[in-house]
Symmetry: none
Subunit: 205 residues, 2 copies
Amino acid sequence: MKELTKQQSKVLACVEVYLNKTGFPPTRAEICKELGFKSPNAAEMHLRALEKKGYISIQSGSSRGISIVKSQQSFEQIGEQMPVIGLVAAGSPTLAEENIEKRISCDPNMFSDSFDYFLKVKGLSMIEAGIHEDDLVAIKKTTDVKNGDLVVVRLEDEVTLKYFKKTNHSLELIPANKDFSTIEVDLREQEAFVEGKSVGLIRTH
Amino acid sequence: MKELTKQQSKVLACVEVYLNKTGFPPTRAEICKELGFKSPNAAEMHLRALEKKGYISIQSGSSRGISIVKSQQSFEQIGEQMPVIGLVAAGSPTLAEENIEKRISCDPNMFSDSFDYFLKVKGLSMIEAGIHEDDLVAIKKTTDVKNGDLVVVRLEDEVTLKYFKKTNHSLELIPANKDFSTIEVDLREQEAFVEGKSVGLIRTH
DNA sequence: ATTTATACTGTATATTTTTACAGTATATAA
DNA sequence: TTATATACTGTAAAAATATACAGTATAAAT
């Protein structure tokens, strides 16, 4: 999570205090009044920055549509807002705000292992493992993976979700669909980046 | 504290659910949409009644200026401990303590629809729907199911998870595995109890 | 038979609120 | 020296929202 500037921190605190006091979030104008700004745009800009850094989410077009994603206050946050990231064809699955499709309120420890984000599955390459298109796979960011693990690997600019098998200099990324073929990587010729591994899955019916 | 009418109770619940889901209170129009009212004044009147009876307070002149004074719900909505029930061969999947295998901390609204418990899947009859043994299927207790829904149905003492298809006097419970056959029930001869329907699924890898 | 409470529809308007755009100022980095 | 990021002011328009008013319908109470 990115660092906040002094003013952004003040604005976040202001929103949290207002929320605790009234039960609903403040308007831009109310934030200005509280912090002494003279233009609603001052508040707007700080809120946008806070959203980009993942501390709040803003429901666009709604009045008072601010919700706290990550509290500045240190008290326990049960039911954190876990980000959902689309499995994009190119580039790493980063947690930058523009990649976050939505957030789901749940416990980061609901599976056997903790996880960092959900990856939204594209395509049918893992269908025989019971992993469908649009399923959300819970990914733990780690490079510590074993053969047989379901992993997120980046090759060049392509990111895939496959079973992991490493043998000497070669890496096999094995699909679970007879219509797809195993991706074989000679690690002396090409780099492969393990982004993380799956610890669970959720699906909405 | 005064008693609430049925509709007032619905409106209060609606506000509480919205608040838990979004982090801010609903507008009059949003309450109407949720509960099927066609005039914003319907919501307005109920809110006024709820304020008069001391369940909420309304900040006049503010958008979404509703705060809960006395919650209707006896339990916390976020980070609830949702029970996991084994799909036992005999008897209804009841929420009696002896049937609860464990509890998982998660948000009852993490799927598109709310749910009441997780059912632990036994057997392979739904494998082609990507539902494996030991997957946890989120079940919403309801009898309001449509053809094609994934439902929990009890026949005599046997409980199954299957696709639902009703035609006149006959009920078909369709598996997703070519090695299993559809269960056909003539409703004039045998009773079938719909216990609920699936709204989602989670799996631990 | 008439009132009273509940439960709405439908419309209209004033007010609140978001949000875009055009600027200003300052410090820091390239 | 020229960007670039932070941190605002000031204005204005469009959209969202609260809320008043005038009705309709129904069941229960008086």
